[in-house]
Symmetry: C2
């Protein structure tokens, strides 16, 4: 059974303010909870409507509840088998940029985009994400779901990007609509270290950050679409920078 107080507490965790205070967040669905249990993150309590989770993870704090109780706790349109409460990891020191591949995000506001960016960065072996303080909260349930588990593997830091980039001793590649098109100038590929900087979905990279870009780049357009969404752009750029050419 899930108590009234537990239900109230879970609901409160759908608000950033409570999450930040409690350092606790919610993870939903079998895929995401399985990833949580295989990660270094600490599950605090897990509720499921399917008994086999208890046998499968005997050491995890799993409790059996009814589908109706799960439905009440869930923020999804249709609750999906299992819901966990997990502790946020303790913040680590910001990564130095030498020898690392960093994805820097300036004001990514949409939770779906943020989650997808974390998943893409994980796919392409990015070492860490460094995001501006006004970027979407990574423990927002929509972000958590969209990462498809990559949240548990990839470190994400929130900081003053201007200060962070001003101290960087490596190349900062900034995605700008008036940047130099990929393919028209030499680049060290496969790319092993440096910062790839992506800006806000509609306003791009903030003015005050522009001076810290070493090389402005853009994805060449071959058709007539005016722009690509931030996550799509990051994926194409990372693909180009990481996958060796084969002509």
């Amino acid at each position: 059974m899930i108590s009234k107080n537990e239900l109230k507490y879970i609901q409160s965790l759908y608000h950033k303010k409570t999450r930040d205070k409690e350092k606790v967040f919610i993870v939903e669905g079998p895929k995401m909870v399985a990833e949580l249990l295989q990660s270094k993150f600490r599950p605090l309590k897990i509720w499921t409507s399917k008994e086999d989770w208890i046998q499968k993870y005997p050491s995890a704090p799993v409790e059996l509840i009814t589908p109706e109780e799960l439905e009440r706790a869930s923020h999804l349109k249709t609750a999906h088998e299992i819901l966990a409460m997990a502790a946020m990891p303790t913040p680590q020191k910001l990564p130095v940029t030498n020898d690392k591949l960093i994805l820097a995000l300036d004001g990514i506001r949409d939770p779906g985009n943020m989650g997808t960016l974390i998943r893409i960065a994980d796919w392409f072996g990015v070492d860490a994400i460094v995001a501006s303080e006004d970027s979407a909260d990574i423990f927002n349930p929509k972000v958590v779901q969209a990462t498809m588990g990559s949240l548990f593997r990839l470190p994400v830091y929130f900081t003053n990007l201007k200060t962070y980039l001003s101290r960087s001793q490596t190349t900062v590649y900034g995605a700008l609509l008036d940047g130099t098109p990929l393919g028209s100038f030499p680049l060290p590929i496969p790319f092993k270290e440096g910062v790839l900087l992506i800006g806000n979905e509609s306003t791009g990279i903030r003015e005050e950050i522009l001076p810290h870009i070493t090389q402005a780049i853009k994805i060449p357009a071959f058709g007539q679409a005016e722009s690509l969404n931030a996550a799509i752009a990051a994926a194409v750029l990372l693909g180009h920078l990481k996958i060796p050419a084969t002509v």
Copy 2:
């Protein structure tokens, strides 16, 4: 003013069945309606709550209504200035694959993914999209919005993909999790003709279509994410195939 019957008709167009019968669909928001008016598509009637549209497009069938009326007609959470009713184009003959770059989609179900794929294809200069009959309807309002106007430029055909691909005389590159990683074998880049085939978001390319793939490809993984979403994968593949290498 918007009449009761018009309102009823607009609402009915949010259902595929009526759209297919009437060959009419809805376009919302200033960006999308501006794209519509610059396209070869025929606007049937336009309602706006902002007077300047009438001056700006004197020959377009624009009518001024109140924000409340617009709100009632809209399917968006918050109606956005303008809503248009447009005629679907008459279906064209399927493109032959020689000398063309075709994006083939097998069972893309999510409207957001479908719209994003159309936008990506437009960006990368794809000549046409050929989609299996069970793919998401491109006149679904969510698809229309997600294309950001590319819907009005890029031809999209629905057909039996198996038959279409079996008649193809060009290379069919299929995105498969066990394909040959990009970067590990020679490819004609920049890619000018051929078919890039992308499968369903969770089940991939259908079994019966696999024999028609000439070259199975995959995006090499550098980290631990298990997969990329269909639109992201298409963007990375098109980026690799179209952007010349510069080592």
